[in-house]
Symmetry: C2
Subunit: 337 residues, 2 copies
């Protein structure tokens, strides 16, 4: 059951008190895996994925029948500083495109057999420019977290969250830099495709935000000061899934920055999450390394929208299908070596 | 149209004369890709995959609706030398398992929306032990090639070929060593899981085969001398798909060894093929590097059966779904930067 999100303390407490995977299901799944008609370990990571999934679902022989993809959209005051190759109007235009089924994530969700929901968060009310103050007030953060928290279908058996928000690799880079340390340039990439001068400007903006907000608090406070509404909504949805024991496939750089804010609050906050892919966006590999997540795919995607997470759904579905659908050596009458 | 396979010359000629991709479709697909609602290049390898697929299908906006998975099974005289962790009876037992739907490839083909066919090739008549002479006569090779050649559904729009054959990483290693040079130990791995002593014995067997048959002819002759019936059938099917312009997703080490025999006959023989995954079987990465194929997946699979190829079908389907299903900037009314 998901508690109502009345304040930020409830959010932090929910993360810290969320239940772990089911030990009996983990053991049952590992035992079953050892009896399936294949040489030991021959399905590689698919075996680990299936056992991990079984644990979170509390079922040693689970199925995936109801994946949910949620795309959150938000606008960013920091775009006034020229950090993106695209104008901020594109955020609302792309939301229309999502709603009409014309974007990449629509095709990818469909190919994965997933339902898809879109939540546009106050697109006409961009967050404040984080180089002059916090991006959001506590109330604004709570409202955005709540959008994500309540967007998760409690009957879903797998979740991917994606985002659209022109300029949002800039707050993601600033969040990563504050949480993980290093220089602004370590975390700042080309996003949708800024040139060298654009990258230098973007790095300056990230550095200013980091200088102003570093050391101010935990991941939730970092999210408030440097994030955006869609980034907070992603964090809210990933946290809700953790409480509901719905496994999550993380998408790219921005999704991982949102997730990193949760990991800063509780070391087990992302145990229900795997990395769908490694994005080509500069620092995504480094964020995944910090989170201890090995990506399933590495195909040079850098689109966001949940695209890399959605692309990985069929991998996890295939892993679970093998685990739960294969015959055992005894059932098939096959000699086990 | 697929010519009748009356002799090995017809096979070699078909490979050398097979048509390439459709230039107009390639250009049309590249043009369309540039107009889709995403930053340029943001879908990474998915964009290249879709354009490649469009070229082979002769359609700038293609769909994948009829993938075919074919599993070939064969037995190997060389198993008498103790090269496998499993007894040769397992080949026929696993064929029964395929037919009853209990193997990994059954689940993976189903998850990919693919039809699946199984061809058992004379399981009660293993090939000859290649350490004392050629594994097959010319007639035996032709017959096995023909099984693969005629197994391809001409209405399929994507092909994965897999194999089952206890002991068959040994002939695959010997083929790779003859075609690509180096030492037997460079190409010999643990297969289904031999121990250190088993690996040393297997390496000796590969070295003996290489010593006896190296320098004897082209890839087709290498296939006859060192291959097996299921390996030849895979080569026959991949070649038929080349003639029919049906794109192929290669599976693991044994499939790639079969494919390498074709590449030795014609440099363009595998232009219609991509590597579905990199197997954990020792030398697969090296074979793919020799073939110039970058794997889509690297998840530690080492099962064969077509499992890694089938797992990659949904990646290619997703790429094509994005390409053909997304809206253009003009259609969606989105500013293109």
């Amino acid at each position: 059951m998901l508690p109502e999100l009345n304040d930020l303390k409830t959010f932090r407490d929910a993360l810290n008190q969320a239940p772990g995977p089911d030990d009996a299901a983990l053991l049952g799944a590992a035992d079953r895996n050892g009896q399936l008609t294949k040489p030991p370990g021959a399905l590689g990571r698919l075996e680990d994925l299936a056992i991990w999934y079984a644990g979170w679902r509390g079922d040693a022989r689970p199925q995936i029948t109801a994946p949910q993809v949620i795309v959150f959209a938000g606008n960013h005051g920091v775009t006034a500083q020229g950090v993106s190759a695209f104008p901020p109007e594109v955020t609302v235009q792309m939301v229309m495109n999502f709603e009409h089924g014309g974007a990449a994530i629509n095709q990818l969700a469909k190919a994965a057999g997933a339902t898809m929901n879109v939540h546009a968060l106050d697109l006409d009310r961009p967050t404040a420019d984080f180089t002059s103050g916090p991006a959001m007030s506590e109330d604004e953060l709570l409202e955005a977290l709540r959008v994500g928290w309540t967007a998760v279908d409690p009957t879903a058996d797998l979740l991917v969250v994606g985002e659209m928000g022109i300029g949002n690799t800039t707050p993601a880079a600033a969040i990563a830099c504050v949480l993980f340390g290093g220089e602004a340039s370590d975390w700042t990439g080309r996003g949708t495709g800024v040139d060298d001068a654009g990258l230098a400007n973007k790095t300056r903006v990230v550095a200013e935000g980091v200088a102003l907000h570093a050391g101010s608090g935990d991941g939730v406070e970092v999210l408030r000061r440097l994030g955006g509404r869609e980034i907070a909504a992603m964090a809210g949805a990933i946290a809700a899934a953790r409480v509901l024991r719905i496994p999550v496939i993380l998408d790219g750089f921005i999704c991982s920055a949102a997730a990193a804010c949760l990991a800063d609050v509780s070391a087990e906050a992302l145990d229900h999450a795997i990395a769908g892919h490694q994005s080509a966006e500069g620092a995504h590999a480094a964020v995944l390394a910090k989170l201890g997540k090995e990506p399933l795919l590495n195909l040079g995607l850098r689109l966001g929208e949940g695209s890399g997470g959605a692309l990985a759904i069929n991998i996890l579905k295939s892993a679970v299908a093998c685990h739960s659908g294969m015959a055992t050596f005894a059932e098939a009458g096959v000699s086990d070596g």
